[in-house]
Structures are given as C-alpha cells and as structure tokens.
C-alpha cells in the first residue's frame, strides 16, 4: 500500500518535472513594445559606435556590456561623447536584459539572459573588434 503510494508520488514528480522541461523548449518572447524600442535604439546607436569598436576605443565586456577600452583612439574633444555613447548603450543593454526576463514572466532570469547575450555578442564580434577575455584582458578578434 505504502509502496504503491510512493510509486505514485515518484511517477507524479517525474511527470511534473518532464512537463516543466517540455514547456521550456519554445521561443522566448522578444516582441514586446519595450523590447522593440530598445532594439531600435541600439540599432540606431550602432552606426555611431561601430567605428569605435573597430578602432578599439570601445570594447565588448565579458558581462554583456561595453566599455571605453582605449580613449586615446579618440581626439580629446570627442571623449565626452564617447563615454556618453557607452553609457547610453549600457543603459539600453541592461534594460533589454531586464525586459526580456520580465516579458517571459521570470524577472529572476535577468542575469542568465545577460550571460547568454554576453557570450553571443563576443561570438559575433567582427574581426578587428576588441573583446574581454575570462582573465579580464583584452583580445582582438
């Protein structure tokens, strides 16, 4: 009696676990107004940032953000603009990660979303761009 009940419990738990895994196989929701506007904003900014990726003034960090890597690549008067670009880009990226987690009903996924993006930004970086390595050093793609 107890044994069959125990078996029932185990089966039940396994089924529930399986259902959870199945449910997680689909796509993530990324088509919300908030996410779309962040994507558009980042896409537009990219036209100003791309040349800084190429010069090495801006690098891709390991945590899915960007940073001023070598300000000397930019004439002094333009450095304020450079750091403003970096700050704006990082604001959008942070918001993007947060919004994706939230859009999928799991605000607690934010860090994992960010880690996933961090890896993919670096994987997709163009030749010549600078990316941060595990030891925090910089490498050129």
């Amino acid at each position: 009696m107890t044994r069959s009940a125990l078996r029932l419990v185990v089966t039940w738990a396994l089924l529930a676990g399986g259902a959870g895994q199945l449910q997680a196989q689909g796509n993530l929701e990324i088509d919300t107004p908030a996410i779309s506007s962040l994507r558009a904003s980042m896409q537009q900014r990219h036209q100003q940032i791309a040349s800084h990726y190429e010069s090495g003034a801006i690098g891709l960090t390991r945590d899915g953000l960007v940073t001023v890597r070598d300000a000397n690549q930019v004439p002094l008067p333009q450095r304020g603009r450079l750091s403003a670009l970096v700050a704006a880009e990082n604001r959008d990226r942070e918001a993007l990660y947060r919004e994706i987690a939230r859009a999928n009903g799991h605000a607690e996924w934010r860090e994992q979303v960010q880690a996933t993006f961090a890896q993919r930004w670096i994987d997709k970086a163009r030749p010549g761009w600078w990316v941060q390595q595990a030891d925090k050093g910089w490498a050129q793609r």
């Binding site: 125990l6 676990g17 996924w109 996933t116 994987d123």
Partner: protein, 68 residues
C-alpha cells in the same frame, strides 16, 4: 484497535498525498529552469538586428559588411 489503525493509516495516506502535492508543486516551481537554447536564439536574432548582420549564424559576417 482496528479502527484506530485504520484512522492512523488514513492519516498516513493523507500526509503522503499532501507530501505528493507539495512535492509536485515544488517540482513545477523549481523545474522551470532557464531555457538556454531559446535564449541563445533570441539573443542571435536581436544581435543580428542591432549589428545589421546578415541573418547568418554565429560566424563572422563578410568583410566590410557594415561600412558604407
């Protein structure tokens, strides 16, 4: 004697059932793990759009693709 044992076993069974329900609820809550593959796909879609990469895979894009 017999009724007492019966009640006791009923109580045991109820406790077991309650345990099963709690366990299932726990599994459902905990087992919604992060969908890594879906997240990667979403990241690729977004990055390709932001960086204007031809919607290829993680490879590097053709040279001078984003230079006008």
């Amino acid at each position: 004697m017999v009724p007492t044992a019966r009640v006791k076993s009923l109580g045991g069974r109820a406790a077991l059932l309650l345990g099963a329900i709690l366990m299932t609820a726990g599994c459902v809550t905990i087992n919604i793990y992060f969908p890594a593959a879906a997240a990667e796909k979403a990241a690729d879609r977004i990055i390709d759009g932001v960086w204007q990469l031809p919607n290829g895979q993680g490879k590097t894009a053709p040279a001078d693709g984003d230079r006008q």
